[in-house]
């Protein structure tokens, strides 16, 4: 059971999460000065997609999506797509948190240990159940908002309007491509919202959560372009971390960027935990043996740690490939999943 407030807050975290590390720098690289236009178009597309999610949630009422689709070939296809989305999201989360920790916090620790520490936190959240986890992130929500307001108000004075000119420097094709990048990075974690059990759904909860999450991302993009200007913003690898270095309160508190990036870790952890819950539910509906279900969590998390470290994190070229092609993969998976679920709903209604 999830309350209305927790629903909105979870959606807010999920929408924002993948923008740390991968999506922001790729978006600025493809669209340049007009990335906020791509963001606005992406928000429009995302609101429409949230309506589809609301419709599916309303039809399935209090069941989880894994229990609702039932049996059959189409249902197995849907479950397979859900599994793939969960795996892709968890991989993304592990890679992005560990590269951030590796680049800024702990520079000479081997990456496998950082990833294992994150996996321990995800496993602990899994063991305690989803209700406690949802309450914990509800408590952390004011912290996220306060840090955003602090960030925005202290860095605002370093912005220059000249950095936005020349207006509309990019062509229409790259703006549309940027909007697809924005769209796929916000709605793919939104699929995880289908796995909750709630009695009454309203569209305005979805819309509020989506607007809050993507609105903060839009402001961050505007800040990045306004402070750094175009050629430099394209060169930096983690621009949303670099703007935090400019926070300067009363000329006395400086260099607090390490404290302010805590909220970015929280977003990613939320996605990681919910993705692991989804994968566990899918596997539970397929496999009936007791022993595998008992040990599944540990095996799955350890396997994902090894995959993310040894396939992606050991070479910079692999991470570049991840950035470049991942949005196509996520877009394909999520759109085909929604299509299949809508087909299944039509079949089940007959």
């Amino acid at each position: 059971m999830i309350t209305k407030r927790q629903y909105v807050i979870t959606y807010y975290y999920l929408v924002r999460a993948l923008f740390f590390g991968a999506a922001t720098s790729y978006l600025i690289n493809t669209t340049g000065n007009a990335c906020y236009l791509s963001a606005i178009i992406g928000i429009g597309l995302g609101l429409g997609f949230s309506y589809l999610l609301y419709y599916i949630n309303k039809v399935k009422e209090e069941k989880k999506i894994v229990d609702y689709v039932g049996r059959g070939l189409l249902a197995n296809g849907i479950k397979l797509l859900l599994l793939l989305i969960g795996v892709v999201l968890l991989n993304n989360v592990l890679v992005s948190i560990s590269t951030m920790a590796y680049a800024f916090y702990l520079v000479s620790t081997p990456v496998i240990f950082i990833t294992l520490a994150i996996a321990i936190v995800i496993y602990y959240a899994l063991k305690k159940g989803i209700k406690g986890f949802l309450r914990a992130i509800e408590i952390l929500f004011p912290l996220s908002i306060i840090i955003f307001i602090l960030k925005f108000s202290t860095v605002f004075e370093a912005m220059h309007l000249d950095n936005f000119k020349p207006w509309l420097n990019s062509d229409l094709k790259s703006i549309l491509k940027g909007s697809l990048v924005f769209f796929s990075n916000t709605i793919t974690p939104g699929i995880l919202m289908l796995n909750f059990q709630k009695s009454d759904y309203e569209y305005k909860n979805n819309a509020l959560g989506y607007l809050l999450g993507s609105g903060t991302i839009l402001f961050v993009l505007i800040l990045i372009i306004g402070i750094f200007g175009m050629p430099l913003a394209r060169m930096l690898r983690y621009p949303e971390y670099m703007i935090l270095k400019k926070v300067n309160i009363l000329n006395f508190i400086e260099n607090i960027e390490n404290f302010l990036t805590i909220v970015l870790i929280i977003d990613n952890l939320v996605v990681g935990v919910l993705a692991t819950f989804l994968v566990r539910d899918v596997v539970k509906s397929w496999v009936k043996k007791e022993k595998i279900i008992k040990w599944w969590d540990i095996i799955f998390l350890l396997g994902m740690c090894l995959v993310s470290v040894y396939l992606f994190n050991n070479h910079y070229a692999n991470i570049l490939r991840l950035y470049r092609y991942e949005y196509i993969l996520m877009l394909g998976l999520s759109l085909s999943l929604i299509g299949l679920i809508l087909w299944q709903i039509k079949r089940l209604d007959q």
């Binding site: 520490a117 370093a158 000119k165 270095k245 400019k246 260099n255």
Partner: protein
């Protein structure tokens, strides 16, 4: 119980790879780069062991030098000579000598931007007629650390040439890579063993061209809104300017620079009577003409050296990208309107005769 042990073991494996005790690090305050057929990199170490012994009056900092064919090689050579682990996150200043600036800045900026163990909020200064090693070795009583002294004089002091937040390293590199603007840095020189800032160094692309004279440097600082309280002289009258604003626009194929400021009278001739209301408008006109001449001189002098330090090319690119081509900032027509409003005169009514 077994689960807790397992978790603790996993945590212990994290090890203490990044654990740095305070006695194990050398805090580096500034980097200096010199070029003399090969790169010479100097590092100023703040918490040398000598500083902790003895009384606080005799605090000294240490300087380490390293040489190499390229900048990165010299840098690594210098780091290898530091006796403890070097720590760069508190770095405050980067000193580049004249020879190194003439050679080129691309390699230096690129390495310092990419390296993750160096922070991005230090200031860059060019040294004129001295080397960075000598600058690091001065030892004044009030501030023994030379890097802090330079930064404090430029940020909080009351000189004519100053820094503001736009001169931090990453924003400087942002200006450097833009098209249509050339950077200019403050130049440091030693006068009788003390540090003085009298000139600005202007660049063309990545190498140093020349130093501007003092008037042009002060005008440049006024135009980029960095300082307040700067004195302006015109026929034995001196005013101090406050609240200066610069506006640059591109219309009808020429650039219009508008400069407005309020002024406070500091030194006047004997025959000025303050109770006469027309004195203020006369003084305003006089100073406005002087300011206009100063700005036009600055633009002419900088154009002689092919350096577009006011960013006129970038302005054209921002407003009308179609009519931009490389070097147009040096050729475009500039119209200067300066208006200085003398409206304050201190706390006395009359001049002492």
């Amino acid at each position: 119980m077994k689960k807790i042990l397992l978790v603790l073991m996993c945590l212990m494996m994290c090890g203490c790879y990044d654990y740095k005790e305070l006695n194990q690090i050398s805090i580096i305050g500034g980097i200096g780069i010199d070029y003399d057929n090969e790169y010479i990199v100097s590092l100023e170490i703040i918490n040398d062991k000598k500083t902790s012994e003895g009384d606080s009056d005799s605090v000294k900092t240490a300087t380490i030098n390293g040489t190499g064919k390229t900048f990165v090689e010299a840098f690594n050579n210098a780091i290898a000579k530091v006796d403890r682990d070097p720590y760069f996150y508190q770095m405050q200043v980067l000193l580049i000598s004249e020879n190194a600036a003439v050679k080129g800045l691309n390699e230096v900026f690129d390495y310092l931007l990419r390296e993750s163990k160096i922070n991005n909020s230090f200031y860059t200064v060019v040294t004129k007629d001295t080397t960075p090693q000598e600058v690091f070795q001065i030892n004044s009583l009030t501030e023994p650390v030379a890097s802090s002294k330079i930064v404090k004089m430029l940020k909080d002091g009351s000189g004519d040439i100053k820094f503001n937040k736009n001169d931090e390293f990453d924003l400087l590199v942002g200006k450097y890579v833009k098209q249509g603007i050339d950077i200019s840095l403050v130049a440091l020189e030693m006068e009788d063993g003390e540090i003085a800032f009298n000139h600005m160094a202007i660049f063309n692309g990545d190498s140093l061209i020349t130093f501007l004279n003092k008037d042009d440097s002060i005008t440049y600082n006024l135009l980029t809104n960095k300082s307040e309280g700067i004195y302006l002289t015109s026929e034995d009258n001196v005013v101090a300017l406050f609240g200066n604003k610069t506006k640059k626009e591109f219309k009808d194929g020429k650039i219009v620079i508008t400069f407005t400021a309020d002024a406070t009278i500091t030194e006047v001739q004997d025959n000025i009577d303050f109770k006469d209301l027309s004195v203020y408008s006369k003084l305003s006109q006089e100073f406005s003409k002087t300011m206009q001449e100063n700005i036009e001189n600055l633009i002419d002098h900088s154009r002689n050296y092919n350096a577009d330090i006011l960013g006129l090319g970038q302005l054209i690119y921002a407003d009308k990208p179609n009519s931009y081509q490389k070097g147009i900032g040096l050729k475009v027509l500039v119209e200067v309107n300066a208006s200085i409003n003398v409206n304050k005169n201190g706390i006395t009514f009359e001049v002492i005769k």
